[in-house]
Symmetry: C2
Subunit: 386 residues, 2 copies
Amino acid sequence: NMSVDCLSSTTLVRLPGLIDCHIHLREPGDEHKEDITSGTASALAGGITMICAMPNTKPPLTNERSLNLTERLYQKKALCDYGLYMGATADNALEASSLASRCVGLKMYLNVTYGDLKLDKMESWMKHFENWPHDIPIVAHAEGQTTASIICLAELFNRSVHICHVARRDEILLIRAAKLKGVRVTCEVTPHHLFLHQNNTQYILDYYGNSNGFREVKPNLQTESDCQALWENLDIIDCIATDHAPHTKTEKSLSDTAPPGFPGIQTSLPLMLTAVNNGKLTMQQLVDKMYTNPKRIFNLPDQDDTYVEVDMNHKWTIMDDETLLSKAQWTPFIGMPMRGAVHRVVLRGEVVYVDGKVLAENGFGKNIVDLRKNSKLLPSLSIEQT
Amino acid sequence: NMSVDCLSSTTLVRLPGLIDCHIHLREPGDEHKEDITSGTASALAGGITMICAMPNTKPPLTNERSLNLTERLYQKKALCDYGLYMGATADNALEASSLASRCVGLKMYLNVTYGDLKLDKMESWMKHFENWPHDIPIVAHAEGQTTASIICLAELFNRSVHICHVARRDEILLIRAAKLKGVRVTCEVTPHHLFLHQNNTQYILDYYGNSNGFREVKPNLQTESDCQALWENLDIIDCIATDHAPHTKTEKSLSDTAPPGFPGIQTSLPLMLTAVNNGKLTMQQLVDKMYTNPKRIFNLPDQDDTYVEVDMNHKWTIMDDETLLSKAQWTPFIGMPMRGAVHRVVLRGEVVYVDGKVLAENGFGKNIVDLRKNSKLLPSLSIEQT
Ligand SMILES: [Zn+2]
Ligand SMILES: [Zn+2]
Ligand SMILES: [Zn+2]
Ligand SMILES: [Zn+2]
Ligand SMILES: [Zn+2]
Ligand SMILES: [Zn+2]
Ligand SMILES: [Zn+2]
Ligand SMILES: [Zn+2]
């Protein structure tokens, strides 16, 4: 059971409030899959106190009107802190850049995935690279050789680029070569691409019924050798980001038309803690990839008095009962034995999660844009508060 | 009629022997489509005295054995001078590089086309970039965003790359941006992508029967706007290269399975002369793109006492009768009115073509590798010969 009773445990470790720089809540538009409340509750239960939300909502966040709408919804509902991505379209380069200061980054979809935001022409890519401010990140869904394409464009326009959800050996080797050459590229990897591949996931179908829809995700699950390459190049991976992309069990059971995506924000930290316990990475690396690096890459503000207490020895099994807070109500990690659990989460001095219970109220989460302003306006106050 | 009687003409112009850095003869393996004799005869009739032949033959030129075989065939048969490309495969990076000094360049197939030489993984691309000598060109079939991918790789490995048959607005704009940034990228465009697009080629089907196979070519014919973009960016185009890719009329009439490719080596210069007469480019630009630039990019040797006499005022119409020397025996430019024709071609002091007749004998053509050696070994002799 995912709720944690830590009375019997002696190995509590305090981590900073963790950051997930790539998640999809489904509000506005598809609140039956996930809404801001359920998604951010899920985040807190997973030890994540700050999220960066992707723009492929309905309507997509691609202009001032949808940004206004989405900002208002998050302000009323979010339980954890958040930044919002602007979505790049073939014709919004100017409007997008005029709104950049209200966003955590620009998302460019360059391969087929969920939603209609794919940019087909490099001419559009170039317009965004020309216009989007250089001090705010551009992140790209750019699989396979598209990884090299977008790195080329970033170089031509003298700017950095962040590669989303690297999944293949070929991609991570290219990014390694680029980093060694001094190219300003950063990247993230999802827990599911680290732990799951085509040949160790039959259990998902066995559990949820035989619809292959439950293994549908973009980028696809790759081979075991791709997984290995990610682990072997851990030093090249800047961030662990979940690409939390919830769809309901009913939707995922439609084999031919199941939308791609896995929920993952609540299970990410437990999976990575288990990996620490299994010697697959160090706690320092975990903190680098789930806090320090995303904070630096996305220029995210401090969260005062914020931390996560994890119990490194708590053994439990991932279940899809009521402890799983996403509206997706399923998980591709079903049945996995964990060692390491989130015990308590404190955000700005308030206990927002403890032992299975989310205590934060709607609207307690802040927009990172406002947090940045406050920390600039009130430097002495924020020092006194700590 | 393609044969030219120039007695009545007064406007003969002497050009250097022209270079086509991208052609496919079909020997060894598919001599019914084109053999070395018919292909090089076609070249001479088109004012081309030096060709660079692609490796997607049967067997493909990807190792020492096939290089030996192909060298022997050309030595016996070629009517004009030639260089041979090595084909890159997923596992021949070491063998290929050991043979580089016998080749004019390395060809990397990165998109679907005729033959089985496609390289799927960037890991293979990287192996070739690591191993192939930096002073011998790498040329890439890299369409659309793959253009950016391969430019990225070239940059990571500190070397140049030549982009084959640029066909799209998106590609030429990217190459423009890269050149402006100082990236060592060069490119070629085919006459068919300059003159033909999806909406001005119904006449081909009307003439050859309604099989769309006669418009099948890789890269595909694009839109009128793509054609325009090529003309607008003429300053960015280094070479005119035909991508001469002959298939028989019978093969092209199989609509669903017609192999992609157009013959073009004999019609390239007339088309470009006509464009000069129509004010679409200058004669200087023609010579740059059909001689000076390919000679420099591929480090091609001088051909002493070699020139092409063209008649700038000769008016004629492209026909597919016996004057068309390719075994393909058809042309996508059928019926096009020309102004400008090849009158006479002299190669190393010998008249090899005059007024419709090829006079060179099998084996008169030399391998550029041998020409390079001779010009290095015998500098005084070759000076005396001129
Ligand atoms: Zn515990
Ligand atoms: Zn507890
Ligand atoms: Zn994505
Ligand atoms: Zn995503
Ligand atoms: Zn004439
Ligand atoms: Zn004549
Ligand atoms: Zn090609
Ligand atoms: Zn070709």
